[in-house]
Amino acid sequence: MITLLLQLFWTFFLIGLFGFGGGYAMISMIQGEVVGHYHWMTMGQFTDIVAVSQSTPGPIGINSATYVGYTSMVNAGYSPAWGVLGSFVATFAVVLPSFVLMLLVSKFLMKYRHHPSVEHVFAGLRPAVIGLLLAAALLLMNGENFGSAGENPWRFWLSLFLFCFAFIGQKVYRLGPILIILLCGLAGIVLGL
């Protein structure tokens, strides 16, 4: 159990340290470590966590760290009480680098943010972060989230429809994410997805 807690701490510390580009880029990092590397949960469980993190108060990064910490412990067979400890460790670890960084920022970066070296680094970082988001979305397009066209065509095509609905609903009609999530969830119940 100590190993798992230490791994949680280290993983989220790194994510806090290198998590450029906001909540969704962090989601991609959490996905890479938690699902891809450590296999603490399935892609489907991870998607549920992202859904809850988007529709509850607070920053998505904190919400998902808390939820992933809990789920990783419980999935490994520990009681919910240990899950709470896992939440605490993950949340603490993801915030910790911010303390050091913001101290440095208040001393240096406020002054040097237009320095050429800083701008060079960000010229590489910014486009890469967009790639992170794209990869996260591509990795989530799997059988667990959409069903498969061969085994269960009803679920597959309906999932595809809900995907398009959510995409167009937000992009064209500017519906809020919570409304979209609720509508799609209700559609899932009504249509027996």
């Binding site: 790194l14 994510i15 340290l17 290198f18 450029f20 580009g21 909540g23 962090m26 990092m29 890479g32 470590e33 489907g44 998607t47 549920d48 992202v50 859904a51 809850v52 988007q54 509850t56 607070g58 920053p59 998505i60 990064g61 904190i62 808390t66 789920t71 939440s87 605490f88 911010s98 960084l101 913001m102 920022v105 208040s106 050429p116 701008e119 060079h120 680094v121 010229a123 590489g124 970082l125 890469a128 972060v129 967009i130 790639g131 992170l132 988001l133 990869a135 996260a136 989530l140 397009m141 989230n145 959409f146 999932s159 959510a166 937000q170 992009k171 994410p177 919570i178 899932g188 119940i189």
Partner: protein, 180 residues
Amino acid sequence: MLELFKTFFQIGLFTIGGGYAMIPLIEQKVVDEQGWVSRNELLDLIAVAQSCPGIFAVNISIFIGNKLRGNKGALVSALGTCLPSFLCILMIALIFQQFRENIWVEHFFRGIRPAVVALILLPVFRMAASAKLNRYNAWIPIAAAFLIWMFGVSPIFVVVAAGILGYVYGKYLKEDPGNP
């Protein structure tokens, strides 16, 4: 001190969707109501906090807490920002644990999952527009996505490598300094 905690607790509690959705509330609380920083200072801070790693709202709360009351202030403000999330998610996690096997809950989440994928895909286009991608650097996000998606490269590694390569390229290889 108590004011710091209370203010950031409210900011954490009343913003859903995170990140940039928080800016108007932060502005209202910190500039208009409390007068802890000036509007221009906050704008500078937002620009810097956006380019820093870590959680945007937490970064801002730490900066302001530190400015007003030093290390303790930073700690109290960060705690205030995180606590609502932490409690809310734990409550949901504990409740969800009971209903995981419930068929209705399962249908509900099956409907949600494709929507979540779309909601993650959308910022790609938004960010591509604001990052001013052009034909010289548009390969970077595609290469980054491909490395992660096809070859299972860790996103953390990709970000670190992109920063280093950007620095090396800008410093040693770029011929025309006026053109990124």
